[in-house]
Symmetry: C2
Subunit: 200 residues, 2 copies
DNA sequence: TGCGCGACATACTGTCGGTATGTCGCTGTA
DNA sequence: TACAGCGACATACCGACAGTATGTCGCGCA
């Protein structure tokens, strides 16, 4: 039968979704601290009461927006990575895709810029574990276990500094006056670092 | 004679200094958004009126605290770097010193964590240019121009991703359950990356 | 058909960043 | 040395906004 799913619940879910969408847009545009809950509720065409019914507070709503952005990113990244054959090629295409992702305003602002400050480093890292960083670490782990870059490197530490390097690189691109040139420069450096790690 | 420097000015400067010190302490301990101006003023034993007399607002005070922390860091870093002889050794000792710095709570919280979110990326990068990142770029520039790692690498881009990698590494150390082990792991990876870049 | 509960709306409170204004004492000047 | 002026604060207040308490309406079930 069909009515196993009451209308109320569907209404509730669309409202929640509207709030998250609104939050993603406004947090991306004006940043966390410059966005009021009334604005978010207004854009979702509900009131603050609805917002507080679905979320515990401003931080909780931010985390929902964070998760929504990350979920989309991870879906694309893991597709790209799993489509590639050997670990080396998966890494290269994965890095390209990650740089691409970092250029998107929502990822840049919500995940990279405001994320750590709003959620705190501990929670941010914990969350990242299940999203983008998790994917990157899996790629690095493959690379190490396949022996491409030497099998004596600590996976977690290497993934950390790679993640930091790529985030910083992508941020530099996003904030550059000439993104095309900056991006080419970053790509050259990343390639060089990777090739330098490869066992000869 | 000696009275070229009125008492009022000295009083003013000590008040300002007390406010900056108080801000550094409280921002480090509770973060930017969880610290009220009344608290900062109270710890400095003045009122909010004095605070607004010396600084344009909360952000301006944060930037003063930011600059105070960075100034101390740069003083130590540049000393270490200039004491080392050849570019290669200067880089290695500089990296060690930077990792050390990143472990300090004030640097971690005010500069790395809250800095970008509070000041915005543009202003943060602009400020960093005159502080830690500036030092790191000078070191990298030396390395490149000396031909140690090949002279065809874009200095700015390389410095960016190095900065990101080291910040992330230090953050990982600071937040790790076993900092000693984590630190050793990070150091291994950084060494490997550097050696990989070296021309053979 | 009535009743309970979930999904909101409305009205209010407290906190805090920022402002407007007042006061006091040092300092340069006649 | 008397006074005028300004710099260094203190005090009182305003507005915005996160969070809360309470009211209301309609769906779904007995």
């Amino acid at each position: 039968m069909a009515t196993a799913r009451p209308r109320r619940i569907e209404y509730s879910e669309t409202t929640r979704q509207a709030l998250v969408d609104s939050a993603v847009d406004l947090f991306t545009e004006h940043g966390y601290s410059q966005t009021s809950l009334d604005e978010i509720a207004k854009r979702a065409r509900v009131t603050k009461g609805a917002l507080y019914h679905h979320f515990g507070g401003k931080q909780a709503l931010f985390e929902a927006a964070f998760s929504a952005v990350e979920a989309g990113v991870v879906a694309r990244l893991s597709e790209v990575v799993s489509d590639s054959g050997d670990p080396w090629e998966a890494t290269r295409s994965g890095l390209r895709a990650f740089l691409e992702v970092c250029l998107e305003p929502s990822y840049q602002r919500i995940v990279v810029q405001d994320g750590p400050a709003v959620m705190g480093w501990d929670r941010w890292r914990e969350a990242e574990e299940a999203y983008t960083f998790g994917v990157l670490r899996a790629v690095v782990a493959n690379l190490v276990s396949s022996g491409e870059i030497g099998d004596d490197l600590p996976v977690d530490a290497l993934a950390r500094i790679m993640f930091g390097a790529l985030s910083a690189g992508a941020t530099a691109i996003a904030g550059s006056a000439s993104p095309i040139q900056e991006r080419a420069d970053i790509a050259v450096c990343v390639e060089r670092v990777l090739n330098g790690l490869r066992v000869s």
